[in-house]
Symmetry: C2
DNA sequence: ACAAAGAATGTAATCGTTTACAAGAGCGAA
DNA sequence: TTCGCTCTTGTAAACGATTACATTCTTTGT
């Protein structure tokens, strides 16, 4: 009997009503009579009926899917954001289609593809490297930018990046550092630029020198952090402290210089950004700026659902607070010679 | 004109053929005449037609979705497996619905839900804690177990866990360790048990003592690794080396004991399992057993697609090789007193 | 008593594909 | 010529829901 899953027809037959009534009972219970409603619900229970999402979506001209586009699936930074997204989208009966922009050849082309494919009712974009023009597509579904943002008017969820940089620099300055360097993310990335700008203006406000040779370009990855570590090791005139634009890079930097015999924080202080899980498990613990990643995901999903609901392409943006987390990787500078 | 996306009807009209021919051109090009095929493809290009996946899925009685069920989305260990899965499923026009078992109250209930919901054509299960009975559901879609396995007869992709444990212990023994401990995953997990079994028999084969008080239970997380570190610190009679069932735990252990002033590998040697990205960036670098995670994802997806294709509920299992990675966290034991 | 409004339900079109089946065209063999 | 192939293409019926519109049955005001 249970061979095939029951359809709405089966329920209608068992309940002795039309399919329309069954459908109404399930979507707008208030419009059907109490007795009918009960009969239908009994029939649903008896047959084990579950609505066929594909058919429903076809008829309602929606897909029940949102696409989440991120730079790199293998980056642990995103997993908690995904968890936040899922916690909102799943109860709302939306599936998440997860795709990364970096695995293919042309990231913007991929974005365009997803926007025109009609495969999804909305898109959440976690990659700020893409240019705003890629979103200028007529008839595209609503988009929410999380963590990053392209134009001013696009709905987004972002964190106080400039303030985070200022907190990091302020902490180092308060410890007595006057020679502070920075390891950036990839150039062109909005996060990179904003944090760099925050770094610059914080230095300025504190009357500290900005040395361009102490600003090293990275790409948020551990490998690039390790490369920055090697660069620092070979500098003749080194900064005594560094602010790194991501914890991943801080991890790479830390390991690299430690393996070279450098003591942290005795010889050099470092401050990261993100507060990924490992930050507290390093030795020394990594001083950093916390981003509430689950919350970013939650808010982005809520924003997008609201837009899908109303069919609007615009919406509010949200700014999420960062928090300074003090651990052991930043201390007073080595004694001046 | 571009108001609504073009349908197959529009293409048919432009190309001067029937919708059936358009459909065939797109799915089985070989059966249509060359000239017709070209006319259709021109019309497709002209109209910007893209097949409506929802309609296609409805007609073909599939969902175009596979569910990936993992213990915890926020665990970086899984992200590369996801990347591997995506690299196979995306080209095959399947979306991935990602869900975790731990966020809700009853994991087995969630699994049951997904199996009966008919929301997916298949399921990939990355959580070996669930009991086999949960899969005994008539009419369920095909399931592939990745990393873990419940019954013998279910198709799965797994790695040589016992051998990995043996490699770890063998390496430590060769370095001269005779007092070797183990930090396990959560009890009841298949991975945990298999690696523990591998650990036990390796010790036996090498004629080394098995001390139950040197076997500490963890749960694969960094936190539990740190807890194991604290446990080790308080032991009166300590092992000189530990094999930890996951790199995450090794990271937690390492940080904890280092912060207590212990030197690794001078005072204690450790070997992890997984070779997650950070392993090479720690100081010292983490000696570990590599699991090719992307490959695990790729093979699991391929297996599942084959089962979906043939409508079969059974299939082959695959055993993937592990590799010993020597880094700096394991060395000769401290000089005997 | 009857018209009008309201409540509950049924009828049937529709969403955009895929595909079983039918049918037409062309061709060689008997 | 006629039959039986093969090769292409078209016709039309699904797939399983939702919903505008029509219909029936009550109820209420005058």
């Amino acid at each position: 009997m249970d061979r095939k899953t029951a359809t709405i027809q089966d329920v209608a037959r068992v309940a002795g009503v039309s399919t329309a009534t069954v459908s109404r009972t399930l979507s707008k219970p208030s419009v059907v009579a109490k007795s009918t409603r009960e009969a239908v619900l009994d029939a649903v229970a008896e047959t084990g009926y579950r609505v066929n999402a594909t058919a429903s979506n076809l008829r309602r001209q929606r897909t029940g899917t949102v696409i989440v586009l991120l730079p790199n699936l293998a980056n642990p930074f995103f997993s908690q954001i995904l968890a936040g997204l899922a916690s909102v989208l799943t109860p709302a009966q939306f599936g998440m289609l997860i795709a990364d922009t970096q695995s293919g050849p042309d990231p913007e082309e991929r974005l365009r593809h997803y926007l025109t494919s009609g495969q999804a009712d909305g898109l959440i974009l976690l990659d700020g490297t893409l240019s705003p023009e890629a979103l200028a597509i007529p008839g595209r579904p609503p988009v929410v930018l999380a963590c990053e943002w392209l134009g001013q008017d696009l709905p987004s969820v972002r964190v106080e990046n400039e303030k985070g940089a200022a907190l990091a620099v302020g902490h180092l300055a308060r410890l007595g550092h006057r020679r502070i360097g920075h390891v950036t993310g990839p150039r062109g990335n909005v996060l990179t630029e904003t944090r760099l700008e925050g770094f610059r203006s914080a230095l300025g406000n504190l009357g500290l020198p900005l040395r361009e040779d102490w600003v090293v370009e990275g790409d948020f990855s551990m490998d690039s952090g390790a490369a920055a570590g090697r660069a620092w090791l070979t500098m003749q005139d080194r900064p005594t402290a560094l602010f790194l634009s991501s914890d991943e890079m801080a991890v790479g930097f830390l390991g690299e210089v430690q393996r070279a015999g450098v003591l942290v924080p005795e010889d050099v202080s470092i401050v990261g950004f993100d507060n990924i899980e490992i930050a507290q498990h390093l030795s020394p613990g990594l001083t950093t700026i916390r981003q509430p990643r689950t919350q970013i995901g939650v808010r982005a999903a809520e924003l997008l659902l609201a837009m899908i609901e109303t069919g609007s392409l615009t919406g509010p943006s949200e700014l999420i607070e960062v928090e300074f987390i003090r651990r052991g990787s930043a201390a007073r500078p080595p004694h001046e010679v």
